[in-house]
Amino acid sequence: MSARKTDDTSGAQRPNQRPELAALDDETIAGALTRMHLIRKFEEAAEASYMRGLIHGTMHLSIGQEASAVGATLPLEAHDYILSTHRGHGHCIARGAEPKLMFAEFFGKETGYCKGRGGSMHIADVEGGNLGANGIVGGGLPIAVGVGMSIKAQKNGRVCMVFFGDGASNEGAFHEALNMASIWKLPVVFVCENNKYGMSMDISRAMAVANVADRAAAYAMPGHSVDGNDLAGVAAVAREAVARARSGEGPSLIECKTYRWRGHSKSDRNLYRSKEEIEEWRLQDPIRRLEDELKAHDRFDAPSLMKLEEDAQREIDTAVEFARTCPDPDPKDLTRDVYAI
C-alpha cells in the first residue's frame, strides 16, 4: 500500500464515516486488512509449528496487536525505515516482508531472511527498509537516532519509524534516544505499543504516569495516545507524525494502547492477569472491529472480506510448506557472516 493513495480523498466521498476511516480508500483498506490477516495467520501458524516441534527457540506473538503494526506503517513510503522489537513479526509483515522468507528464518533455514542465524527475534530485511527486530528491550531506540542522523546528512527525505513496548519506555535508552532525536529534530517516529504489560509487569506498577505518551513532554515533542486496536485511528496519528518528521519538524511519540492475547512467550503461565481481562480485550479484536465498521458503512461485503482472509491463510500455508522444505545452514559456514570483508 503506498502512502499517497491514503491521502487521495480526505474522506470527501465518504461523508458518514469518521474522518480517520474516510481518509483510507478501499484499496488501502484491503491492503491493510490483508496484512492484518497475514500477521494473525502467521502468528497462529508459528504457534502451531512450535507445538509440532518445528521451532527450536522461543517466540513472542503479537496476536491482538495487528492494528498498531499495520496502522502505524501505513503512511510510510517504500524507502522509509522501520526498527522493530522482539515481538516483531507483525512489523515485518506490515512493512512488506515475505512470510515464506520469515518462516524460513523462523525454522532456522539458510533461505531465511537472516540465513537462519537470527531467528524470530532478529528478522531483518535491510534492503527492504526493515532494519531489524531486536532481542534487547529498547535496543532499537538509540539505533533509530543514528538512522535519523543518516537521513538528515544524506538529505534523502526518508523517515525512520521505531517500535517499542511500554516496558521498553522504562529503559534509559528510551530517554537518551528521545532526547537526541528531539534536540536534532530528526525524522524519527517513536511508536510505543502499550499492551499493558512488560512481560508480567503491569504498566501501572512500572511507571507512575498514566500514558507513555505523557513522557513526550520531557522532550518537548508531540505525544499522541491512541486506541491501538483501531487501524484507522492509528494510521491517522501516524500520518501526522510521519508528515512532521518528513518535513523536518522533528520526532513524535505515538502510543498505541493495545493488548497481546497470548502470553509473553511460551513460558508464560498468565499468572499476572485474569482470564476476564483477556476475554474483554478479545472483544476488541482489531480485525473484526475494522471489518464490522466497513460492513456497517457498506464499503466491503462479507464475501469479499472473507476472501481477503482466505487468501491470507493460503499464503501463510504455502509459506510454512516452503520453509519446511528448505535446507539447514552448513555448520562449516559458522563464522562466515561474522565480519564483512
Binding site: 527457540g57 542465524r117 512488560g198 506498577r205 513460558s267 563464522t335 561474522v338
Partner: protein, 340 residues
Amino acid sequence: MPSETLEATGDVRELSYAEAVREALGQAMEADERVFLFGEDVGVYGGAFGVSGDLVHRFGKERVIDTPISELGIAGAAVGAAITGMRPVLEIQFSDFVTLAMEQLVNQAAKIRFMFGGKASVPMVVRLPGGSGTGAAAQHSQSLEAWFAHVPGLKVLQPSTPHDAKGMLLAAIDDPNPVLIFEHKLLYKTKGHVPAEAYRVPIGQAAIRREGRDITIVGSSIMARKAEAAAERLAGDGISAEVIDLRSIRPIDFTTIAESVRKTHRLLVVYEGVKTMGIGAEISAMIAESEVFDFLDAPIIRLGGADSPIPYNPVLEKAAVPQEDDIVTAAANLVRRGEA
C-alpha cells in the same frame, strides 16, 4: 556426582538446579531480614526461568520485588541498598542484559570499597542466567563471565551442580563483597543431591570431580558436567582424566589446578564463552607462567566458544560451543601427543 555425596550431610534430597537456587534464596531470606530479591518478573511470574517460583508468596512483595525493565537502574539500586545495610540479591533476567548494567557493576560496585579507602563494603549478589542451547540466538545466549573475572573488586562464580548452586549462593549472600553468579540455563533442570540445611560452599575453591592420572580437564559451568561425561568415555579408551570443576573464576583456585597438572602433565581447559579472551586463557596463562610449566609434557589446549555470535539454527548453535565429543577428541589427542 561423587563430590556432592561426599559434601552432603543430614537430609539430602534430589533437587533441580533451579530448585536448589530457590531453596538457598528462601533460607537466606528466612535467616536474615536484610536479604531481599529483586529483578524483572521475579515476583508473581516466578522468574523467567522459574527460579524464584513461589518466593513472592512466601515473603511478600516488599522482599521479592518486580522491577521495571531498567537494568542499569536496578544494578545501581543493588549498590545503594548494599552500602546502606541491606543484602540485595538481584536477578538479571538473561546475562546478556548485563551489558546495560556494566557501569554500576564495574565502576561502582567493584570499586566503591577501594575508592573509599576500605570504609564501605558492597555486599550484593547478582544472579545471571547465561549460556546457549535454548535457541534464543545471539542476544540471549552469551557467556560473558570472563569480563567480570577481569575486574578487581568483584567475585565471580559458575556453579555447575544443584549442590553448588545452593551452597555457593548462600556463601555469596554472606560475602561482604559484590558477587556475580553465572547460572547456565541448560543446568536449571538438571538434578542432583542437595542437603536440606543451609550449608555454604566456600568461594574460590575448585572441585575435583574425578581423579585421574593422564590429563587434567578443567571445565567451568556446564562444561564441567560435559567434561565429567567425557572422562567417563575416555576411561573406556584407557585414558585416565582428572576433572576439575572450576566453580569460581574470580578468584581462581590456582592451587588445585596446579597440583593436578603437576601430576598429569597435561592440561585441557573447556569453557563455553568465546575462546579468545575467555576464562581458559587465564587458566592456561596462569599455568604457563608458574613453576608447573616445567611439568608440562604437551601444549595447554583450550576448547572454547567459536569466534562468532551464537546462531539461532540449532545445528549451528551446537557447533558454536564445545560438545562432549570435542572434549573426548581433544583429550585423547593431547594424551597421545604427549606420548608420541
